[in-house]
């Protein structure tokens, strides 16, 4: 299926969430450092020109964060999530294949930048309003969400937690 561009109207009242690396405060870090720490490519060290993100309703934040870390094979971690809504122009819906959670699979999108300068400009704008755009999901919130899903016998989570290769940290946090 070809990627679908979302109209501006579609994006109103929702968050464009990008999981962050560090709990920065704007007074502690320069724009250059902020950009390098948050938007560096893991493989090349250059800036990422295509950012993976999720377009969600605000109440879905904890679910989105938890599913992202689980689906990506990471340990459950509290980290900041950055709302990039209004800072990115080229946002393309890119539903994820072979992803264990339907909501985040459908909410996934790519934010495309034409140059390093565009990434740096976005990072500067994000840093300028960092406190308002940072939504930190804590580990206790992840635990509460996860245990509620287990208590409800949520099919996606039951399959994930009993699947091959699931990290022990997820089963422990789920109380299994």
């Amino acid at each position: 299926m070809p990627p679908q561009r979302r109209s501006k109207a579609d994006r109103l009242s929702i968050l464009l969430v990008r999981s962050g690396k560090s709990r920065h405060t704007s007074s502690e870090v320069s724009a250059e450092k902020f950009c390098d720490a948050e938007f560096q490519s893991p493989n090349s060290g250059g800036l990422i020109r295509v950012l993976s993100a999720y377009q969600i309703d605000a109440p879905q934040l904890v679910q989105c964060h938890t599913e992202h870390y689980a689906g990506a094979g990471l340990d459950p971690q509290g980290r900041p999530d950055f709302d990039l809504e209004g800072l990115a122009i080229d946002v393309v819906a890119e539903p994820l294949d072979e992803w264990p959670f339907r909501m985040t699979a459908q909410a996934h999108c790519n934010i495309r930048f034409g140059s390093d300068g565009e990434v740096q400009r976005m990072a500067e704008l994000l840093l300028a309003s960092l406190a308002a755009r940072t939504h930190e999901v804590t580990k206790p919130e992840i635990r509460t969400y996860l245990r509620a899903r287990v208590a409800d016998a949520d099919a996606e989570w039951v399959a994930f937690l009993n699947g091959p290769g699931v990290k022990a940290t997820w089963r422990t946090l789920a109380g299994l």
Partner: protein
């Protein structure tokens, strides 16, 4: 003193021995420098740190200890070292970084790395100190969260 088994010409033997020693030293030096050269060429990215954590963790530790990269990269290096290398020496080094490194980014990376060593002696004490006293609110929150286990 034992005679050299490979030559009756003492002058030649000395020269050969010195050459061998030099070659060996060069090989050792090359082996030690190779990860650093790879890291330099590839730009100290996370994939390089993960490779080093697998192949020569002592070199990754040296990059951090000697501040061979910007703090925006060392934060990942410290996190990856703690996550992927489970030794007392790594835990001790990360504790030291948390308590002394001037960059909050690097201290935060060390906290995230040390969160994989919670059962080692002194680790929780260090994290409690960071959670209470670190000058950076981000590091304090990261340390408090690490103690959640």
């Amino acid at each position: 003193m034992a005679s050299p088994a490979f030559s009756i010409d003492m002058g030649h033997a000395t020269t050969t021995t010195q050459t061998c020693k030099s070659a060996y030293a060069a090989t050792v030096t090359a082996r030690r420098l190779a990860p650093l050269l790879i890291a330099l060429r590839r730009g100290y990215c996370q994939a390089v740190f993960e490779d080093l954590a697998r192949s020569s963790p002592e070199e990754l530790a040296e990059i951090i200890r000697e501040n061979h990269a910007p703090d925006t990269r060392l934060t990942f290096a410290a996190e990856i070292l703690g996550r992927d290398v489970d030794t007392p020496a790594v835990a001790a080094m990360l504790k030291e970084i948390i308590l002394t490194h001037p960059s909050p980014l690097v201290r935060e990376g060390a906290v995230l790395g040390l969160s994989h060593h919670l059962q080692r002696i002194g680790v929780q004490t260090t994290l409690h100190r960071a959670a209470a006293n670190d000058p950076s609110p981000g590091v304090r929150r990261a340390a408090a969260e690490a103690l959640e286990g």
